[in-house]
Amino acid sequence: MRVATNAYTNAMLNQFNVLVSRQNNLQSQVSTGLRIQTPADDPTAMQNTLSYLANQSTQAQYSANIGTLQTRATSVDSVLQSLQTISSRAGEIATSAGGATTSQSDLTNYADEINSLINQVVNAANTKDPSTGKYLFGGTASGAAPFTTTTDASGNVTAVTYNGNSTVNQAQIGAGMTASADVPGANTGSTGARGLITDSQSGADFLNHLITLRNDLNAGNATAVTNTDSANLQKDENNIAYQVANNGVLQNKLTAAAAFVTSNSQNLSQMISNTSSADLMNTMVQLSQTQTSYQAALQSGSKIMSLSLLNYLPA
């Protein structure tokens, strides 16, 4: 075929363009580690990658939520520990006071100790979440302190009012999975999370039971202490034990969810890598092939271009 002189230059320019653009593309793949960077590089892979990335970010959020709940569960746990101590001390007092040999002055001393326990329980039940500053045991009506007390002239608590409600906030800890570390202070209904201090399902009513115990002690009514108050306090102790166990179950659930999230994240990273990452070895081989082609094109081009009949004609 006859070849026009400028066909060389045109063809060479075209080849150079193709090779340089291929080199540029491969070089960018090597330096970013990504096979696709724009939607046009591979529309389907781009769509999948965006979806994986969103999912990965959601997993990170689950992980953060789990962390938040774990912190809160720990705060709840420490309150439960102190309530357990108080509850067992109150039980001991009820047992000791029920003995036939106890004098009225001993009973009055016990009543004073119960007064102090009542205040400790109110303080514990009004604990705030250190991270959000909201009350831990007010349910979702956490604006005001959940437990307020009425006191008599000598400063002793005569009645307790619960200002919260019995619902709790849920947080997302996995796809379609929510959990709550909140415990309502009281639940007088028959459904929902059991109340910390007052709970109609278990018959617990810790503060009122303590108040009755104190009143009975002051009144020297050892019979009531033995017959009624001890049994009532046992219900409270059981309820607190239930809450401790429940907290343990929650912590286990959170640990399991965290492990699931971690494994999901790793899988997603792998999927993101599979869809969007450049195969470095392959890319480097292609890059070096392209560089060789480019060199060959430059060399052959410069040789052909320098050839001309003019070089051989006499001056």
Binding site: L50, N169, S277
Partner: protein
Amino acid sequence: MLGLFGTLNLAARSLQTQMTGVEVTGQNLANVNTTGYSRQRVQIATSPDMATSIGPEGTGANAVDIQQIVSNLLNNQIQSQGSTSGYWNAQQTALQSAQNGLNEFLNGSGATASTSTTSSTTTDTGLSGQLTSLFNAFSSLAAAPSMSTQQAVVGAAQQVATSFNQISTQLGNVKTSLNASLTANVNSANTLLTDIASLNQQITVAQFSGGNANDLTDQREQDLENLSQLTSITTSTGTNGAVNVNIGGNQFVSGNSVSDTLQTYDPGNGSLLVQTSVGSVPVTLTGGSMQGTIDARDGTLATMQSHIDSLAANLIGAVDAIHNGGYNSAGGTGTNFFIGSSAATISVNAALVNNPALIQISSSATATGDSSLALQMSQLATTTQTGLNNQTFGDYYGTTVAGLGGALASANTQVTDQTAVTNMLQTQRGSISGVNTDEEMTNLMSFQRAYEASAQLVTTINTLMGDTLAMKTS
């Protein structure tokens, strides 16, 4: 018998003929790099012979014609492929702008050492990640309602709104610049039509007076090819050599005059189209960069704009439907979270921006610590929306991105293929019409030698004439 003077004449004609050959070779060499130039050949024919008693005797040679070596078939193919090239180039440019406007790219911070290494560094730059961040912020707010999580939600929502606004503005800018480029194309086309008509005029005049208008024909061919890049044309050549140009069934160049020109018009939606100047008849374009621009603008770009708008509208609707019925920590209710109705107008309610504590995430006026609505809003991330073809927000956006990516990828492939076809046709045409310097140098030498030989003939005749005169004087 020619005799001495006849032979001298023959030699002189031969000198002229060979000189013409040298001149044409010079013209070819000078135009070796001229775009659209077709090489020329001098046509040399023997002069009419002379009857003599011993038979016909030759009278030398004449340069009878300077011919252009062209292939009309290839020229037509290049014209029609030019329309296809122009179409896809315009699409590619438009869609690249749209892709930049969308700003959805992947970032990676370095090569992974092997394929088994996870690339946790991959991030995306656009709306996709920001939407997820917003839903995540709602999730945080549900888990731990506090001032800081409320602020985080408002911050993430503002980011989403800003991105929507930016994408909408960018796509609007792309549309404006596509309209501008359509107008520029129409102006170029009108200039080319005028040039073609004027070249028709010169060519018919040159041919009427018996000449060849080789170089003018080249120029006109070049103009037709440039016009083909802008839009698909059909041409017909008249008996006088003038080329008539027809676009979309309308005659624009008739003989030596421009019978009509193109102009843009706004059909009412701000998307310019093309019509004839005479009678304002809408012109149906079928190829070239004008139609490529129109198709990209009214096709992929318009689809994208409408998808982004419905994404924004559905997000506003879904979030507000939940938020509006909720209560803030002071018991207030009934305000919207997002304001606006489209990607261009979406914004976060200014009251919430000023005071994030006004976010309404409680399901009851009395339970002000409730965050159940924040949980609901975070779960919108995985809720399919009937207004979005039953896809989630993220999936719908992903489909939109992939739609644009697919259109651009296809345009890129077409441009690459079309470039290869065009290059091949150009090379083929070059092999017929292009100048080869080696060939021209060889021709030059052959004309030079022939010229030298004819000059030698003159010298010989001169010597013979001298000899003849010397016969008388001696």
